[in-house]
Each structure stands twice: as structure tokens, then as C-alpha cells.
Amino acid sequence: MKNGPLSLLFHVLFVAFLLAPMVLVCLVAFTPHGFLSLPTDGFSLRWFRRLSAYPEFLRAFGNSVLIAGCPRPLPCSSRCRQRSRLPVIAFWDVKC
């Protein structure tokens, strides 16, 4: 069964709702001004340059990469032969 036009419209709205804040944050990162604003005047890498010279951020970024790279203990054994058909989400890093 195919998706009708109404379903596709709903889907587009849903995806727009999901992506809107992140797209906005990415756009605001390129602002040339000194306050939170959309880059309507032109894109600038000023804040990225500022960030690369900010030692606390570089250290925190390194810590995050280290933590993310650590292997997580998975509760399964090599003798487990039955495979579930449901998607198994092993890494669950939710902070809410």
C-alpha cells in the first residue's frame, strides 16, 4: 500500500518539526554578530575560530569523545543463539 498525498504532507510536517530546532542552531552558529541572531548579514566563521582558541571546550570535547569511544557492557553471552526480530538498541545514552 502506498502513502497518499495527505500522509506525505503529514510526514513532511513531522520531519520539519523534528529538524527545525537543529537547523536553526546550525544557522545561528554562523552569525557574524555578537548576540544570538540568524546570519542575515552574511555568514561568518568568527565563532568557530573563537571556539578553537577556547581550551575548556577543547578539553571537554576530548572527554566526550573518550567517553563515547569506551566499549559498553552488553548483557549477552556467546551461547545466546536465538535472535529476536525486533530492533535491539544496545547503546542507550539518554539524558532528559
Binding site: M22, L86, K95, C96
Partner: protein
């Protein structure tokens, strides 16, 4: 396939130890702490009593905060079910290159820090944010309309953070559905709306149940999003416990708030679970 007791112990042993050490032990310590006394001069006093719980139940401030937490969680769960379940069904009906891309888009927000997403909402919901500008352009409001520091803003941001979980849960449940049943209904003349309502929805109920349990628990215990969008004046249970721990330094009272929140969530989840499993017993039995 039968396992010996040793095999079963080896399979679940590590997880049980991890659970006991990392989850059960701190919870037990928090419960014991909630029974302790406290004064601003002496700190945590030894001895056990229930006066923290009595204080919470007798003060209407705490009741208001817990009621707000429940209200926000119920609204978030309802909206997530209403938009997440159809979205999972739509995803399932897509053809292959689009389906993988859209699943990635739906799971994508989970890979980004919740703080970054919530800051995006702080930009959108503010006085001169896009939501306000859109409402003014449509003529629905006369001046700048800010949803920041309101319950509605917290609900919108929490729905954004939590609906991928609902989509995933319903998706998992729908993937076990036999597609031939839908086609059979279509060949018998059912409209797409009827097919969704009478064939797909009952079979998706296990997924909706597990999704709503996940969303409700995460919404009721949410901290970062209500703290950023709600601000200092709009407290939910998690930010209230945070306040007691770090501002008032009354750790026993904060622990009591946390334990009560835990009991509230468990009671709601167990009750909801029983209700849905009884109502849709046929789907769960299969």
C-alpha cells in the same frame, strides 16, 4: 530450548550485578536519606522519621509541582501517541531508499545532545522567534508572543525530544504485522482510514503501550528541557529535587521528592500496562 540453571545464571548474572550495583543500591541509599532529618545549622541529622514525606504532603506548593509534572507528562504522551503512531505507519509504507533516509531523520535528533535541541527551541519559542513571527504573520496575535517559560513551551519541546521513541516503539510493533491483512481489507473495499482504524491500530497497541510508557517515564523525570524552557519559576518534580539538593542543600527533602516521583511513575506505568493489556488481550496473547 532448555537451559540449565548454570547457563541461565551466566546469562543474566552480569546484568543483574550491574543493575544491583548501579541502580538498586543508589535508590536504596536515596530512600534511606529521605527518611533522615535536616537542619540548616547541623546538616543531615541521623535517625529515621517520615517528616519529610509529611511536609511534602501537607504543603500545597509540592502538590502543585507534582500536579504540573503529571499534567505535562500526560499531554506529552498524548501528543506523541497522536503524531508518532501515524508517522510509524507512514514510514512503514514507504519504498526503500526513502524509508531508510526517513528513519535516519527520525532517529537523528536522538544523536544530538538534548541541550542543543532545547536551545534550538529556546530560539524558536522566544519573543522574536520563528513561532512568534509566524503567528503574527497569520494575524493570530497582535504583538510578540513568547512561549518561553510557559507549560505549553515545555510540552512542545518535550514532544520534540521524545516522539522518536514513540515512532521506534510503534515501528517495532508494526514490523510484526502481516501486510497481507491490510491488502485483504483493501480488496474487500475498506477505505484507508478504516484500514488504519480497525486493522492497523489494534495490532500496533503493544507498540503504542511500550512507547507511551517510555515517553511518560522520560517526560515525568525530564530535567534539562523543563529547566531551560520553563525557567526558574516553572518547576517540575525533577527541577524541584535539583533545587532542594543544590540550592537549599536539604538533601533529605530532595530525596523524598525523588522517591515520590519514582513511585508515582511506577504506579502510573503499571496501572496503564494492566489496563491496555486487558483491553487488547488478543493482540498481546499472540
Amino acid at each position: 530450548m532448555t537451559h540449565s540453571r548454570a547457563e541461565i545464571a551466566a546469562l543474566i548474572g552480569p546484568t543483574t550485578l550491574l543493575f544491583l550495583g548501579v541502580v538498586a543500591a543508589p535508590l536504596a541509599m536515596t530512600f534511606l536519606l529521605s527518611l533522615s532529618g535536616w537542619s540548616s545549622l547541623e546538616g543531615i541529622k541521623p535517625g529515621f522519621s517520615l517528616h519529610n514525606y509529611i511536609e511534602i504532603f501537607s504543603d500545597s506548593y509540592f502538590g502543585e509541582v507534582f500536579l504540573r509534572t503529571l499534567r505535562i507528562s500526560l499531554w506529552v504522551t498524548l501528543i506523541c501517541v497522536l503524531i508518532g503512531a501515524p508517522e510509524a505507519y507512514i514510514l512503514r509504507r514507504m519504498r526503500d531508499p526513502w524509508r531508510s533516509i526517513c528513519i535516519l531523520i527520525v532517529i537523528g535528533p536522538l544523536l544530538v545532545s538534548v541541550v542543543a535541541r532545547t536551545l534550538g527551541w529556546a530560539l524558536l519559542l522566544g519573543g522574536n522567534g520563528l513561532v512568534s513571527q509566524g503567528l503574527q504573520a497569520l494575524g493570530l496575535t497582535s504583538g510578540p508572543f513568547s512561549l518561553m517559560f510557559t507549560e505549553a513551551g515545555v510540552i512542545i519541546a518535550l514532544v520534540h525530544v521524545l516522539c522518536p521513541f514513540m515512532v521506534l516503539a510503534v515501528w517495532a510493533s508494526l514490523s510484526r504485522m502481516d501486510p497481507a491483512v491490510e491488502r485483504a481489507a483493501q480488496s474487500l473495499g475498506a477505505q484507508p482510514g478504516t484500514i488504519f482504524r480497525r486493522i492497523v491500530l489494534p495490532q500496533a497497541m503493544p507498540g503504542i503501550l511500550s512507547g507511551s510508557i517510555i515517553v511518560f517515564s522520560l517526560a515525568a523525570s525530564a530535567f534539562a528541557t523543563p529547566a531551560i524552557i520553563g525557567g526558574r519559576k516553572l518547576k517540575v518534580a525533577a527541577t524541584l529535587a535539583y533545587d532542594e539538593f543544590l540550592n537549599t542543600l536539604n538533601w533529605p527533602l530532595g530525596s523524598a521528592v525523588a522517591i515520590l516521583l519514582l513511585f508515582g511513575i511506577v504506579a502510573t506505568v503499571v496501572g496503564w500496562n494492566r489496563l491496555v493489556e486487558r483491553r487488547y488481550a488478543q493482540v498481546f496473547a499472540s
